[in-house]
């Protein structure tokens, strides 16, 4: 197991190096002159050549690219991620201030997706092609098509219209005011959780239907166990493995989707910070936030792999 762990960790690390290279190429090399991006073409033309050189120097953009890349890696290693071009905020402060909110949304969304998706999938698999199965499948197909941010906007609109309720707009941490914090995160978490729940329900249904055909399940039935016991105790644990993997893959959608859903709910999370930075073309912030999202995603996938190997010993020895 330890060998497997080390191998996966090394693999994840090398992937992250590739990720950082791609981010660097896309954001530092492609866009041309960052000053044009910052000041616009007209503003750029008004700058004196000395000023241009000085600003570039200040931003650390006049060094050769390998040096810039090395400095970025050093920054990541030491945790001081540079400053925003425009606001002078430290990127690390932005992450510490807004990150917890987005993390809570993500975790709650995963929890909701399991709490909703798993029972629905089990009910579907219990009686395939029954009315309840068809309703569950139709709903999951529908939820796969509805854009989360639109659902979010509709919820905001509906609560505003019927209850005249508006969520708070400022960052409130769990440890400051749990109730206000919950109001901030519950909407996005439900929207993201239902979207993933639709996948989990589909996956749980098809995996259960596959496992139920196995010999050992027939044995369990033959010895006279109740159907509920057969499914919950014998079939479910084996059917869950692919669902766990799927859940890891879906985290990528939660991370990406939360950016749009946070915007829809007006939640001042990390996603909002990223959107603002992209619109302002704040390269340093974008580069670090995109890297952060990728790090989280890779980390989750490695964790899923490990849990999978822990649950299914056959994988460790491959």
């Amino acid at each position: 197991m330890r060998k497997y762990l080390l191998r996966r960790a090394a693999f994840g690390l090398s992937t992250l190096i590739g990720v950082s290279l791609i981010i660097f190429v896309v954001l530092r090399i492609l866009p041309g002159d960052p000053l044009v991006a910052m000041f616009g073409l007209e503003g750029f033309a008004k700058l004196a050549p000395d000023d241009r050189a000085r600003i570039m120097e200040d931003l650390g953009l006049s060094d050769p690219l390998p040096v810039q890349y090395a400095r970025w890696m050093h920054d990541i290693a030491t945790g001081s991620l540079g400053r925003s071009f425009f606001r002078g905020e430290k990127v690390s402060e932005v992450i510490l201030h807004r990150g917890p909110l987005s993390a809570e949304i993500g975790l709650l969304a995963v929890l909701i997706s399991w709490l909703v998706g798993l029972p629905v999938g089990i009910i579907s698999a219990f009686r395939p092609n029954s009315l309840s199965d068809n309703v569950a499948r139709s709903l999951s197909i529908l939820f796969l098509a509805i854009p989360g941010f639109w659902l979010g906007m509709l919820i905001v609109l509906a609560t505003l219209f019927w209850f005249n309720y508006k969520t708070p707009l400022v960052v409130v941490h769990l440890w400051q005011d749990p109730w206000a914090n919950l109001q901030l995160i519950v909407g996005p978490a439900i929207v993201l959780g239902l979207g993933q729940g639709a996948y989990i329900a589909r996956m749980a249904r098809s995996c259960l239907l596959e496992v139920i055909r196995e010999d050992y399940v027939r044995t369990a039935r033959a010895k006279g166990l109740k159907e509920a016991l057969v499914v919950m105790r014998h079939a479910l644990p084996n059917a869950l493995l692919p669902v766990i993997t799927l859940s890891g893959i879906l985290m990528g959608f939660v991370l990406g989707g939360s950016v749009a859903v946070e915007q829809a709910f007006g939640v001042p999370g990390l996603g909002r910070a990223l959107v603002v930075a992209v619109i302002e073309r704040d390269t340093i912030v974008v580069q670090n936030l995109v890297m952060l999202y990728a790090v989280i995603f890779v980390f989750i996938n490695v964790a899923v792999d490990l849990s999978y190997a822990w649950l299914d010993p056959r994988i460790r020895y491959r």
């Binding site: 954001l27 098509a145 639109w150 509709l154 609109l157 589909r202 749009a260 990728a294 995603f297």
Partner: protein
Amino acid sequence: MTDARVGVRAALAVGRVEPLPERSVTRELAGFARRNPMAVAAGLVGLLIVVMAITAPLIAPSDPLKTDFRRMANPPDARSFFGTDQVGRDTLSRVIYGARSSLIVAFASVLLGTTVGALWGVASGYLGGRFDLVSQRITEVLQSFPDLILAMAISMAIGTGMPAVIVAIAITRIPFGNRVIRSVALTIRELAYVEAARAAGGSALRVMTLHVLPQCVAPYLVLATAHLGVAIIIEAALGFLGVGIPPPTPTWGNMLADSLTSLVPHWWLVFFPGFAITVTVLAFNLFGDGIRDTLDPRLSPAFLRMMAGGRRG
């Protein structure tokens, strides 16, 4: 299928190729419709949306860009069925024109991304070796980004506007095409007729294009249709976040973003564009499911869904 192949081989053996027995197209279609009524209905809805996008100037009740300051933020009424926005533009016309941007971006990006990915996948599956190893690592890295975030970063780097959005979404589709088609190429590479082509002295390029590539068409089509819905949602999300096709060109995404500019959004400005997205994505997804069941029953729904990814917005 097998019979036909045996027939061709037999015919080749006697030096004379007879044409395969012709199958009636209408009968094929009727069979498809009977087996997948849902997919056919969805396909018709999808077709209707495509026609709507193409004929937008003919069917839109008014100019989508024409402002009217006497009719600002009007709720739906007899003159404008979907209401008007904050500067008096007709929402129905804007939704109809919005279909154009959404569909062009979706089709172009899926075509570009899946094709590049598929060709790359054929090459890395067939050639194997170090090329395959490096390709797989690059794919892993590309898949380590949540794809909306990757699309945002790329479109920020290469500018806004339709071509940039298309390229940004296409790049996020490349890994999926690469992985699926590579796995197909890996199995086809081992088939006897490919080996025969190699033994006959066919170059790698020739064997790939003439013998491996044609076998990848069915999975390619399945994959491409499965990704249309995803591409539409990513496009809408980019527009919604203000990094997609910029106004005044109406897109469903930037219409939703526009609706947020008033303190209390008007419900008709929120509801109709999003409804258009949902109906379109639903139609494409259901149609894609039918295509998959017909063309490639081996690809299980769970597997393809996983490869297709899902809701990004």
